[in-house]
């Protein structure tokens, strides 16, 4: 395990006949990267300690020192190509850690700030007549459930039917156009969907019509393309053997789709739908415009403004009460609740696809 200067053992056995130069270059010992990392950390710690900086410069200088150290060492022992390779590995790993930092910071901040008001009152009280301390987001949670629920009720049938059309019927220009525009629709900015719902309801029901249903329409504009794409993928992987077997028994096509294709794909489709709900449940901008906000509980999506969790969080932050802190606490707790809902929906989606996936023999 001698490190560098003496040539490693395999070199001696393949010594070239003329005895000038080895055919095999040396390699760094197995512990080289960890050792170099430790050395870089110690060195960076010393520098940072001497100059009196914080954690961020320490991590940064560790990464830089490690990259320089390991590639220099490797260039000496292993040659230029391996050295470049090792430097790139260091770059890739540090890029990954660098990207992880803000994401971890987001999660930690939301949890630590949100836990202050994560209590019973938050989930059972509305903001009706609340000034300053106390109050809760019961009305907003209900509003979020109602708008997302309505959006799901509208999006799933339309999205699923379109996916069935694309997979089972569509071959011509219409299906290509639909595929293309569904892809384009995935990229509609959420605020534009909100403006669309606002404009639609303003034209149909008179200007300034803002209610929960308009929000649900905006959300389904965002949700339909996601449902179409995921259901389409799932229907495509249903084996043709199943369809042909059913056709051979004389089953009509619609019955083959409803009784054979859909049940086979149901796990994947539910996963896709759950993920689509998770995508829209946290949307703020369209609801801000189409659904509005209120302090009291409103169960009727067809009349009056309706509070939703994300908009509630935004307004508690944007226009806080006179002691600012209770409002900000509520904003963070609403954000935490929203994040928990999204996480749970994601976990549910994963479990559905794990538990109910058809056993595919591969």
């Amino acid at each position: 395990m001698s490190t560098t200067t003496s040539p490693p053992t395999p070199t001696e056995s393949v010594e070239p006949p003329n005895g000038t130069k080895s055919l095999v270059r040396g390699t760094l010992p197995r512990w080289a990267s960890w050792g170099a990392l430790g050395a870089a950390a110690v060195l960076a710690g010393l520098i940072v300690r001497l100059l009196g900086f914080g954690v961020t410069p320490f991590v940064l200088s560790t990464a830089v020192l490690y990259a320089i150290g390991i590639s220099g060492w490797s260039r000496w022992v292993e040659g230029g190509r391996k050295a470049t390779d090792r430097a790139f590995t260091a770059l890739v790993a540090s890029a990954f850690l660098l990207a992880l930092t803000p994401l971890v910071s987001v999660v930690v901040t939301v949890i630590s700030r949100g836990l202050d008001r994560f209590d019973g009152q938050f989930f059972t009280y509305s903001m009706r007549g609340v000034v300053g301390d106390g109050g809760g987001a019961y009305h907003a949670i209900m509003g979020t459930l109602i708008t997302s629920g309505l959006a799901t009720l509208m999006s799933v049938p339309i999205g699923l039917a379109t996916a069935i059309y694309l997979v089972e019927y569509g071959h011509g220009r219409l299906s290509r156009a639909i595929t293309f525009f569904v892809d384009v629709m995935t990229g509609i900015p959420s605020i534009v969907a909100g403006l669309f719902a606002y404009a639609l309801f303003a034209l149909v029901f008179g200007p300034g019509t803002v209610n929960g249903f308009a929000g649900a329409v905006a959300l389904s504009v965002l949700m339909i393309p996601i449902v179409v794409r995921s259901s389409e993928e799932m229907l495509k992987i249903v084996p043709d053997d199943l369809r042909e077997a059913a056709f051979a028994l004389g089953t009509p096509k619609w019955k083959v789709i409803v009784r054979v294709v859909l049940p086979t794909a149901v796990a994947g489709i539910s996963t896709g739908v759950t993920l689509a709900i998770a995508r829209v449940v946290g949307e703020t901008a369209p609801l801000l415009i189409a659904t509005g906000a209120t302090g009291s509980t409103n169960f009727n999506p067809f009349s009056g403004q309706m509070a939703t969790l994300s908009v509630f969080s935004y307004y508690e932050y944007a226009s806080p009460g006179v002691p600012v802190d209770p409002s900000l606490d509520r904003a963070w707790t609403a954000a935490l609740t929203l994040m928990l809902i999204v996480m749970v929906l994601n976990l549910v989606a994963r479990s559905i696809s794990l538990l109910f996936a058809p056993k595919a023999g591969r």
């Binding site: 470049t84 990229g187 034209l203 619609w254």
Partner: protein, 315 residues
């Protein structure tokens, strides 16, 4: 159901089952409905925005006319999104490489899941985080940039005291689009033909050389399309920008001062609840412009993706 048919007539009558016809009609109708909705988005926005096109310039907010109102917003939107993309795209490529070719297989699967999860975190949460954590943290670096790189117009300063600058906004947007860009690129890198990779390794290539020769050429179009999708997300991002950016209008490349151009989406979210009359029509007109920009960006992205599936050498 009732007319399943018997005997020789079956073959002819199968095609005319009413239930089949109805089912086909329903599914086709749903597909057409989507096209109608997309056309409706454009049409309704156009109808509602129309009054602002014909209104005299004095009635538009800012009293300078529609073009003068929207142009700085378009500039701010493009500046923030392009900056975010410049930061996020190289990182996304490296992260995708880490997940697909460097991390151990078990860890890679878990990391892929975490990336998907982060793509689903609501934007309001990134906004609150950017305002509370990131904005104060950028004050120090911004002052440093101003002191040593102040001759570059981007860092002309004077540095904002709140940190709610274009610089911070671009960073928040970069963090937000990172998961989606990474996810697209990762998918493509995973599909790199194993034989190409193994062949180049067998010829003695190091891992970096293998990536340069086999993985990147295969995934290059996905890098472009993923970046375009990320750009589309950043262009339309509303709440995070509305919360983080303290906008004062105007057109400037100065990233770290307290005077920043607003973005279209954030401007709509901030102004809409308090607007009425022509002001609302003007906001809808700006939304129409945003819709057009994202439409173009997404169409380019999709065109690139479709070309890849047509011509890629993957089996």
């Amino acid at each position: 159901m009732s007319n399943t048919g018997q005997g020789a007539a079956t073959a002819r009558r199968v095609r005319k089952r009413p239930a089949d016809q109805a089912f086909r009609g329903i599914t086709t109708g749903a597909g057409v409905l989507i096209l109608v909705v997309l056309a409706g988005v454009a049409a309704f926005l156009l109808i509602e925005a129309w009054p602002s096109f014909v209104a005299p310039a004095e009635e538009i907010p800012g009293e300078g006319g529609l073009v003068l109102y929207i142009w700085p917003l378009v500039f701010g939107t493009l500046l923030a999104s392009v900056l975010a993309l410049v930061i996020a795209a190289p990182l996304a490529v490296l992260i995708a490489l880490f997940i697909t070719h460097y991390a151990p297989r078990k860890l890679a699967q878990f990391l892929g899941y975490v990336v998907d999860l982060l793509a689903a975190v609501p934007s309001i949460i990134y906004g609150l985080w950017g305002f509370t954590v990131l904005a104060p943290a950028t004050r120090g670096p911004a002052e440093w940039l101003h002191e040593y790189l102040g001759f570059v117009p981007l860092f002309a300063g004077p540095p904002s005291t709140t940190g709610r600058t274009m610089f911070t906004t671009a960073l928040v947007l970069a963090v937000m689009i990172l998961p989606i860009v990474t996810a697209v690129i990762r998918e493509a890198f995973l599909q790199t033909p194993k034989l190409h990779e193994e062949a180049s390794l067998a010829l003695g290539a190091t891992r970096l050389e293998m990536i340069r020769m086999a993985v990147l050429p295969f995934g290059s179009s996905s890098i472009i399309s993923g970046s375009m999708l990320g750009l589309g997300r950043a262009l339309g991002e509303t709440m995070a920008v509305a919360i983080v950016l303290s906008a004062s209008g105007g057109v400037t490349f100065n990233l770290i001062s307290s005077g920043n151009p607003a973005t279209i989406a954030a401007n709509i979210a901030l102004e809409f609840p308090e607007s009425s009359g022509v002001a609302i029509d003007t906001l809808i007109a700006s939304g129409l412009v945003l819709f057009a920009i994202t439409l173009v960006v997404n169409m380019i992205a999709r065109a690139v993706i479709n070309r890849r599936t047509d011509f890629s050498g993957a089996s």
